[in-house]
Symmetry: C2
Subunit: 357 residues, 2 copies
């Protein structure tokens, strides 16, 4: 293996304070930090807001995010702040990398400081109880603001290490798409565009369900044929659900759809995959959660999406079967059978409708 230092191929651009885009990232987790660092390298005037003053000061002093990316030296030009007004006032783009359970509350806090900034979600997930996506929350809390969502197969550590990666900025606004591409696109981090906001964020929100299914299947020692069928039936479910919410099924051909699903399902170290593997090995959810030390996000997503799919009347056999295995004591073999039942159907129902098969 001849590991290549891709990062050395690309030099950072210096910041011109008069013309630079003013970018703020809210949230100092690994992905927010990686995006802030990318913006600095692209010549943006960049701040990262971190609630804890001591952590912000430490990042400014050491240029290392010790908690989330301890092994990487960040650009010296990245300014960490803990004052939300300072972070948000007079900026061009606000990138929100706040966990889904605090996302709404942070938007409510920044509302007084919003004038003409664009607001872009970097968060994957669904708000508990409301089943709101991040774009829904932005529209509800900041109704006048131009907005977008960023989603894709983006492991932060790989991005900071300079491994080539790509992502998708989805917005109805051409200006928002353009500004985010200016801020984040580089030779090592490609930012593709889409106008299908719900389609793009659904990929990131739903994929964890299928990582659980893939881990479960792996526990049964299934081969490549079966894994491929799980992947494509997952895409069928996701796109069916998304279309019901007004998205374009073709979005799932891209980075935010099958790209993110592929990355998630190919990572045996992810908590979702591991909880699935434990369930497939005959353990209960309680035992699996205890071993992992925390709940896998995919489990909550299964509960939420299953309820929502029943309300909407969307056929999601993998999600339903996972729910029955995890919460109703059904045998794990049900997952396999759920893939197999229901006779002859269309491969891609948007090509050939089921009733024409």
């Amino acid at each position: 293996m001849s590991e290549l230092d891709f990062a050395s191929l690309v030099s950072p651009v210096s910041v011109d304070q008069k013309t630079a885009l003013r970018v703020t990232v809210l949230g100092g987790g690994s992905f927010g930090t990686a995006m802030a660092n990318t913006a600095v390298r692209n010549g943006c005037d960049t701040m990262i807001w971190i609630r804890d003053e001591a952590v912000a000061a430490d990042i400014n002093a050491t240029h290392i995010n010790k908690r989330y990316l301890p092994d990487f030296q960040l650009e010296a030009g990245l300014l960490a702040v803990s004052d939300l007004e300072k972070a948000v006032c007079n900026r061009d783009i606000i990138l929100v990398a706040i966990p889904s359970h605090s996302f709404r509350s942070v938007l409510q806090q920044i509302k007084p400081f919003i004038t003409s900034q664009a607001v872009v979600s970097l968060t994957k997930g669904i708000e508990a109880n409301t089943f709101s996506f991040m774009s829904d929350i932005i529209r509800e809390e900041l109704p006048e603001v131009p907005y977008g969502v960023l989603s894709g197969p983006n492991l932060a550590k790989e991005i900071v290490a300079g491994q080539p990666a790509g992502t998708v900025i989805a917005s109805q606004s051409e200006l928002v798409r353009y500004a985010v591409q200016q801020a984040l696109h580089s030779a090592l981090f490609r930012v593709f565009a889409s106008d299908d906001v719900h389609g793009v964020e659904l990929g990131g929100a739903l994929k964890n369900i299928y990582a659980v299914a893939m881990g479960l299947a792996a526990a049964y020692g299934v081969g490549e044929n079966t894994k491929s069928m799980i992947l494509t039936r997952a895409l069928a479910e996701m796109s069916r659900f998304a279309v019901k919410l007004g998205a374009n099924p073709l979005t799932f051909l891209g980075l935010s759809g099958v790209g993110d699903l592929f990355a998630t399902c190919s990572s045996p170290l992810s908590r979702n995959y591991q909880v699935g593997f434990a369930l497939g090995s005959g353990k209960s959810l309680e035992q699996a959660t205890k071993e992992l030390g925390q709940t896998a996000e995919g489990i909550n997503t299964i509960v939420q999406v299953r309820a929502r799919s029943e309300e909407l009347g969307v056929y999601m056999p993998i999600t339903s079967a996972l729910y029955e295995v995890i919460f109703e004591g059904a045998p794990a073999l049900n997952i396999a059978l759920s893939l197999m039942k229901n006779g002859h159907r269309s491969d891609v129902e948007f090509v050939l409708p089921h009733q024409q098969v």
Copy 2:
């Protein structure tokens, strides 16, 4: 790992000679044999045509295909024949599992025996020199015949072992789709339907290109982000090419598209992946071919598709970059750069056209 014997969950159906579908598979390779065995298990009156009389007699005596599936006991009801007239006359479905270089010649030989049989290709690939797909060859040689193509992530050994799998039957004829599903669909082998013949066969024909690219990337030690980007850019190229030939881009969301691509790119033991890995490790095509003992199919596909994409004016940067690396001595790093260049583009151009980005 609790390996499950899926096959024991499903019992074969006995053949009713009066009402059974009469199915013939032409060609005794591993996939043709697996499909013939599946048809027998589904209660079809099934023959498999194998040119070599001694091999056919041996299969009838031992119920083992010693050359291609030496470890599996075939159903006793499977009849191997070496007389082409006997194999083709008075049958309902002819499944053609003949390598692409002999496909046309075998169709010419069976032409005198064709009355109302449906002819279905099981072969993935492109005819050398003519750039014909198997469906094109069927239409040219047997213009009056109802036809279809079968394609998907279908490793024969996994199917014969009873691992759950799925495939796609594509035909404009509802009757052909229905008959093939009757013949091959079971609880362990799902046969999904599509009417996008070219879309379905293109997935199987083009995927080997991207297995070479994935092997090459692996030699550089790339991470999950990069692999996901290769997978989705591959889908973008394939669907762009397919749409130019009249296919539906959504077909690539299914088993014959991303399903087969995923299986192929996840198999580090495949020749295509290995030749890519060797190229990425600095070896020449000559050295790589010598080590593997034979030419990888993906290499020929690259040559053909690159020429055809230039004729058609279809943008295929991965295929072009692979061609330049393999045949023009360009550095392998070009593959990575080819993914990264060209500025801001659409993620899925059928969602947001490039000129609107």
